[in-house]
Symmetry: C14
Subunit: 89 residues, 14 copies
C-alpha cells in the first residue's frame, strides 16, 4: 500500500476508535451523576434547584472529556495535517 492509502486507513480507524471509546466512560459517568441527582431530589425535594444546577455543571465537565475525543476525531477526518502533507507532496 502506498502512503496515502495507509494514512487514510489509520485516520479512519483512529477517528472511529477515538469517538467510540472516548464517549464510553462519559456516558457511564453521566449516568451515575444523573442517578445520584434523581435519588437526591427524591430524598430532599426542597433542594432540587441546587441539585439540578450542580448536576448541569458536573455534566458539562464530564461531557467536556467526550468533546475532546470528538474534536480529535474531527481533526483526524477533516483537518489531518499528516494527510494534508502527503496530499501536498
Amino acid at each position: 500500500m502506498d502512503s496515502i492509502t495507509t494514512i487514510a486507513i489509520a485516520s479512519i480507524i483512529t477517528a472511529g476508535v477515538t469517538t467510540t471509546f472516548g464517549t464510553m466512560m462519559p456516558a457511564i459517568g453521566e449516568g451515575r451523576a444523573v442517578s445520584a441527582a434523581l435519588t437526591s431530589i427524591a430524598q430532599q425535594p426542597d433542594a432540587a434547584p441546587t441539585i439540578t444546577r450542580t448536576l448541569f455543571v458536573g455534566l458539562a465537565m464530564i461531557e467536556s472529556t467526550a468533546i475532546y475525543c470528538f474534536v480529535v476525531s474531527m481533526i483526524l477526518i477533516f483537518a489531518n495535517p499528516f494527510w494534508n502533507y502527503v496530499l501536498a507532496n
Copy 2:
C-alpha cells in the same frame, strides 16, 4: 488489495465498530438513570414531575454521546473524505 478496496473495508469495519461499542455504555448509563428515576418516584411520588424532567435532560445528555458515534459512523459510510479522494483519483 488496491487502495479502494482497503479503504472500503476499513470504513465498513470502523463504521460498525463505532456504532456498536459507542452505543454500549450509553445504554448502560441510561438504564442506570431510568432505574434511579423509577426508584425515586416510588420513594417520593410527589416529586415525580421534577424527577422526570431531570431524567429527560439527563437522558438527552447521555444519548448525545451515542449520537456522536452514530454521526461518525454515518460520515464514514456516506460522506467519507478519504473514500471520496481515492474515488476522485
Copy 3:
C-alpha cells in the same frame, strides 16, 4: 481474494458483530430498568401508572441505541454503498 469477496466478508462479519455486541448492553440496561420498575411498584403500588409510563419512555430511549446498531447492520447487508460501488465497477 478479489475486491468483491473481501468486501462481502467484511460486510458479513461487521453486520453480525454490530448487531451482536450492539444489543448486549441495551439488554442489560433494560433488564436493570425493568427490575427497578418492578421493585418500585412493589414498594409504592399507587404510583404504578407513573412508574410504568416513565419505564416505557426509558425503555424506548435504551432500545433506540440497539436500533442504531440494527440499522447500521441492515445498511451493511442490504444498502452497502461500498458493495454497490465495487459491483458497479
Copy 4:
C-alpha cells in the same frame, strides 16, 4: 480458498457468533428482571397482577434484542445476499 468457500466460512462463523453472544446479555437481563419480579411479589403479593404484566412487557422488550441477533443469524444462513451474488456469478 476461492470466493465461495471464504464467504461460506465467514457466514457460518458470523451466524454462530451472532446468535451466541447476542443471546448472552438478554439472558442475564431477563434473569435479573425475573428475580426482581419474584422478590417484588414476595414483598407485595397484592400487586402481583401489575408486576407480572409489567414483567411480561419488559421481557418482550429484552427478548426483542435477542430476536434481532437471531434474525441477522438466519439472514446470514438462509438469505445471505453476498452468498447469493457469488453463487449467481
Copy 5:
C-alpha cells in the same frame, strides 16, 4: 485444505462454540431467578403458587435464548446449507 475440509472445520468449531457460550449466560440467569424464587418463598410462603408460576414463565423465556443457540448449532451440524452446497458441487 480444500473447500470441504475448511467448511467442515468451521462448522464443527462454530457449532461447539455456539452451544458452549450460548448456554453460559442462561445458566447464570436461571440460577439468579431460581435463587430469587427460593428467597421469596422463604419470605412469603403464602405466595408460593404465584412465585413458582412466574418463575416457570421466566425460566422458559431465559431457556429460549439457550434454545436459539442450540438450534443454530444443530443447523450447522445437520442442516448446513453451505455444506450441502459444496457437497452438491
Copy 6:
C-alpha cells in the same frame, strides 16, 4: 496435514472446549441456587418442602444447559457427520 487429521483435531479440541466452558456457568448457577435454598430453609424451616421442590426443578433447568453442551460434545466425538463423510470418501 490432510483432511482427516485436521477434522479429527478440530473435533477433539471443540469437544473438550464445549464440555469445559459449557459446564462452567451451570456450576456457578447451581451453586447460587443451592446457596439460596439453604439460606431460605434456615430462614423459614417450615417451607422446606416447597423450597427443595422448587430447587430441584430449577436445578434440572440449569443442568439442562450443561447437558446440551455435553450432548454436542458427544456428537462431535462419536457421531460426527463431517468425520463420517471424510472417512467415507
Copy 7:
C-alpha cells in the same frame, strides 16, 4: 509433524485443559454452597439435618458438571476414537 503426533498433542492439551477449566467453577460453586450451609446451620441449628441433606444433593449436582469434564478428559486420553482410527490406519 505427522498425523499421529498432531492428534496426540491435541488430545494431551485438550484433556488437560478440559479437566482444568472444567473443575474451576464447580469448586467455586461448591465453596459457595458449603458457605451458605455453614451460615445457615449457625443461624438455625435445629434445621441442620434438612440443610445438610439439601447440601449433599446440591453438591452432587454441581460435582456432576465436573465429572462430565473429567469423563471427556479420560475419553480423550484412554478411549479416543480419532487416535484409534489413525493408529489403525
Copy 8:
C-alpha cells in the same frame, strides 16, 4: 513504508489513543465526584456552598489529568519534534 509515512501513522494512532483512553477515567472520576456532591447536598443542604466549592476544586484536579493527555495528543499532531525532524531531513 518510508520514514515519513511510518511516523505519521504512529503519531495519528498515538494521538487518538492518548486522548481516548486518557479521558476515560477522568470522566468516571468526575461522575463519582459529582454523584457524591449531589448526595451530600441532599443530605446537608446548608453545606451546599462548601460542597460545591470543594467539588469544583476537585473537578479541576481530575480534569487536569485529562488535560495532560489532550496536551500530549495536540503535541503529537501539531508540534511533533520527530515529525519535524524527518520533514527537515
Copy 9:
C-alpha cells in the same frame, strides 16, 4: 522437532498448567468455606461440632476437584499413553 520432543513438551506444559489452574479455584472455594465456618462458629459456638463436620465434608468435595487435576497431571507425566506409544515406535 521430532515427534518425541513435541509430545514431551506438550506433556510438560499441559501437566504444569493443569495443576496450576486446576488448584486455583479450589483454593478460593476452600478459603470461602473456611471463612464461613469461622464466622459461623463465632456466631453460634454451640453448633461448632456440626459446623466443623459439615465443613470437612465440604472441603473434601472441593478438594476432590483439585485432585482430579493433580491426577490428570500425574498421568501426563508418568503414565502418558501417547508418550508410551511414540517411545515404543
Copy 10:
C-alpha cells in the same frame, strides 16, 4: 526502517501510552478522595477546614504519580538521550 525512524516511533508511542495510562488511576483515586471529602463535609460540616486541608495534601500526593508519568513522557519527547545519541551519530 532505519534506527532513527524506529526510535522515533518507539518514543512517540511510549510517550503517548505513558501519559494515557499513567493518568488513568490518579483520576480514579482523586475522584474517590473528592467523593469521600464531600460526603465527610456533609456529615460533619464543622470539620470542613480539616477535611479540605487533608484532601489537598492527599490530592497532591496522588497527582504526583500522574506527574511522574507526564515527566517521563516529556523526557521521551523533548530530552530523549537515545534519540540524541542516534542523531549525533
Copy 11:
C-alpha cells in the same frame, strides 16, 4: 533448537509458571480465612481456641493446593522424566 534445549526451556517456563500462578489463589484464600478468623475472635473471644484450631485445619487444606503446584514444579526441575529420557538418548 535441538530437543534438549527445547525441553529445558519448556521445563523452566512451566516450572516458574506453575509455582507462580499456583500460589496465587491459595494466598488469597488464606488471607480470606485469616481475616474471617480475626473478625470472629474479635466478635466472640471465648471461642478463640475452636476458631484457631479450625483455622489451622483450613489453612492446611488450602496450603495443600499450593504444595501440589510446588511439587509439580520441583518434579519438572529436578526429576523430569522427559528430560531424563532425552539426556539418556
Copy 12:
C-alpha cells in the same frame, strides 16, 4: 536493526511502561487511604492529629512503591549498564 537501536528501543519502552503501570496502583491505594482518612476525620474530629499522622506515614509507604518504579525507569534511561556496555564496545 543493530544492537544499539534494539537496546535503545527496549529501554524506552520499558522505562515508559515501568513508570506508567508502576504508578497506577499506588494512586489507587493512596486514593483509598485518603478517603478513609477523610471519612475517619468526619466521624471522629478529635482524633484528626493521630489520623493525619498515620495517614502521612502510610502515604509515604505506598508512595515508596511508586518511587521504586520511577527509580528503575530513570536507571533505564540515564544509567543503563547494558546501554553503556554496547556504547563502549
Copy 13:
C-alpha cells in the same frame, strides 16, 4: 540463537515473572488480613494479644507462598540445573 543464550533468556524472564506475579496475591492477602486485624482490635481491644498472635501465624502462612516463588526464582538464577547442564556440555 544457540542453546546457551536461549536458556539464559528463558531463565531470566521466568525468574522475573515468577517473583513478580507470585508476590502479587500474597500482598493482597496480607493486606486483607492486616485490615481485618486492625478492625478487630478496634472492635475488641481486650483481645489484641490473641488477634496479633493469630495474625502473625496467618501472615507467615501467606508469606510462605511468596517464599516458594522467590525460591524458585533464585533456583532459576543461581542453581539452574538446565543451565549447568548446557554449560558443562
Copy 14:
C-alpha cells in the same frame, strides 16, 4: 541479534516488568491496611498505639513482597549471572 544483545534486552524488559507489576499489589494491600487503620483509630481512638504498631508490622510484611521484586530487578540489572557469563565468553 547476537547473544549479548538478546540477553541485555531480556534483562531490561524483565527488570522493568518485575518492579512494575511486583509493586502493584503491595501498593493496593498497603492502601487497604492503612484505610483499615484509619477507620479503626476513628472508631476506637484509645487503641491507637496498638493499631499503629500492628499496622507498621503489617506494612513491613507487605512491603517485603515489593522488596523481593525490587531485589530481583536489581540482580537482573547489576548482578546478572547470565550477562556476566556471556561477557566473559
